[in-house]
Assembly symmetry: none
C-alpha cells in the first residue's frame, strides 16, 4: 500500500523528554496512525518500564527507537524537518498549521526521509533547534491554554499525517531536496565567507544568520541548488582582485 | 468571539472510565482546544488526586465536571450526540469520519447543545449506548492497531471541533514583501556580481539565472531581506584580497 510506504519515511524526533511515560504514550500514538520510527535526543530516562507500560501494545516501536546525542544526529539523512511548536516566534522558519505541514511532509516522504521534531514537556523546542528545521508547525489551540500534553501533540500530528498519506494524489516525484547535513554545511560555508569579506562580525551577529536561515528555509533548497550556492561562495572568496 | 461560544455548547461524555488519570488527561485535552464541559457516566473513581495531577492546569474543567448515573442523564438537553467508536458496527446509526462529524456538531452547536460520547478504555461503547446517539464517528487509524488512548481520541476529536469552529484563517499581518522592481534589481545585482567573479559567463548561461530565480521566488523575499542580500553582494565584490 502506497500510504504505508510513505508513512515509513516519516520519523518523529523527541528532544530532551523528561518523563519516560510520555515516550511510551508517543510510541502508542505513532503506531495507531501507522507511523513506526521514533528518535530520542538526550531523553532523561530510556529505556524504562514506565515507557513500556504506557506504550500498551506498541512496544515494538520502542524496541526500534534510536537514542541520539544531538538533533543533528537524529536528522541525519532527512531532507525536510518540521518543528512542532505552540509558541509564536519573532524570527524563525516559515510557519504553517499542522494540516498544511502534514501535506508537505507526506508529499516529500513519498521518496525521501522527513521528520517532525518535538521539544521538552515544559519548554518545547529551543530557538536553535527550531532553526535546524525547514518549517514550523503549530497546532491551533485555545490561546488561554495551549499546553497540549506531548503525546497528545504527537497524536494530532500523526493523525494529520495519516489523513494526508491516505488522501494524497499520486503524481510525479518531488525534486530531490538537500539533506539536513548538506544545508548545515552550506550555512557554515556562508558564515565563513561573510566573515572573510568582513560582512559578518561573529562578535556582533545582529541576528544575521537566523535571518538568512529563515530566507533559505523558505526556499526549501534542493540538492542541486546547494551545489550552485556553494560554488558561488567559493568563486566569491577565491577570486583575485586588482588593488 | 463566535467560535468560543459555539465550543461552549459542546460537551464531552465519558462512559464508565476505569482510570482517573485518563479523566484528568481528557480535561487537559478539552481545555487546550477551548472546550470546557465534561460529563462522566459511572466513572470507577472520581474525584481522584491522579485525575488532578494529569489535568495539569485544566483542574477548572474537573471542578465543573458532572458525574451522572446514566447516559440519558448526561445527554439531557442535548439535540445531537455523536458516538466515537473505533469498531465498525452493523447498527443503523449513520457513520462518518471525525472530520465530518465535527463539522456537523459545530453547525448545530451554534445555537443548541451537542455531545460527543466516548466508551471505556477496554471495550469502547456498548451497542445500547451507540443507539442513543445520532451519528457514529470513527478516527481513521492503522487497521493493525487502532487502539487510541482515551485522552488521545478526545484530543483528536477536540482538535477537529476547534478547527471546524474557527474556520476563519488565523494569524497576524504578513511581513512586508519585496516589490517586484526590488526583486528584479537584486537579480541584476546578483548576475553582475557573478560575472565579476567569473562564476557566470553570459555567453554560456547554462540556465544558472533561471535556477537562482526559481530558488529565490520560492523564498518570497521580504523587503528587508533584499537589503541584506544586496549588502552581502556588495561586500563580496568590493573586498580587497592579498595577492
Amino acid at each position: 500500500m502506497n500510504a504505508a510506504n510513505t508513512l515509513k519515511n516519516i520519523r518523529a524526533v523527541l528532544c530532551g523528554t523528561s518523563h519516560p511515560g510520555n515516550i511510551g504514550a508517543v510510541a502508542r500514538a505513532l503506531k495507531t496512525m501507522g507511523l513506526s520510527h521514533l528518535f530520542l535526543v538526550n531523553p532523561a530516562r530510556f529505556p524504562d518500564p514506565e515507557a513500556r507500560w504506557r506504550a500498551s501494545r506498541a512496544t515494538d516501536v520502542l524496541d526500534r527507537t534510536k537514542v541520539c546525542k544531538s538533533l543533528d544526529e537524529a536528522l541525519s539523512g532527512v531532507t525536510f524537518a518540521v518543528a512542532c511548536s505552540a509558541r509564536s516566534r519573532t524570527i524563525a522558519v516559515p510557519a504553517a498549521t499542522v494540516h498544511e505541514a502534514a501535506a508537505r511532509l507526506v508529499e516529500i516522504a513519498r521518496n525521501q526521509q522527513v521528520a517532525v521534531v518535538f521539544g521538552t514537556e515544559k519548554f518545547g523546542l529551543t530557538t536553535a533547534e527550531v532553526n535546524k528545521c525547514r518549517m514550523i508547525a503549530t497546532i491551533p489551540a485555545n490561546p488561554r491554554y495551549s499546553s497540549l500534553n506531548l503525546a497528545s501533540a504527537v497524536q494530532v500530528f500523526a493523525y494529520e499525517l495519516r489523513l494526508a498519506a491516505c488522501s494524497a494524489p499520486v503524481g510525479g516525484s518531488p525534486p530531490l531536496m538537500a539533506a539536513h547535513e548538506e544545508v548545515e554545511a552550506f550555512y557554515m560555508h556562508l558564515e565563513q565567507a561573510m566573515i572573510q569579506v568582513g560582512f559578518f562580525d561573529p562578535n556582533h551577529p545582529r541576528k544575521l544568520m537566523p535571518r538568512l536561515r529563515c530566507l533559505f528555509a523558505r526556499a526549501q533548497l534542493e540538492h542541486e541548488e546547494i551545489n550552485i550556492l556553494r560554488g558561488l561562495l567559493k568563486a566569491f572568496c577565491n577570486r583575485r582582485q586588482e588593488p
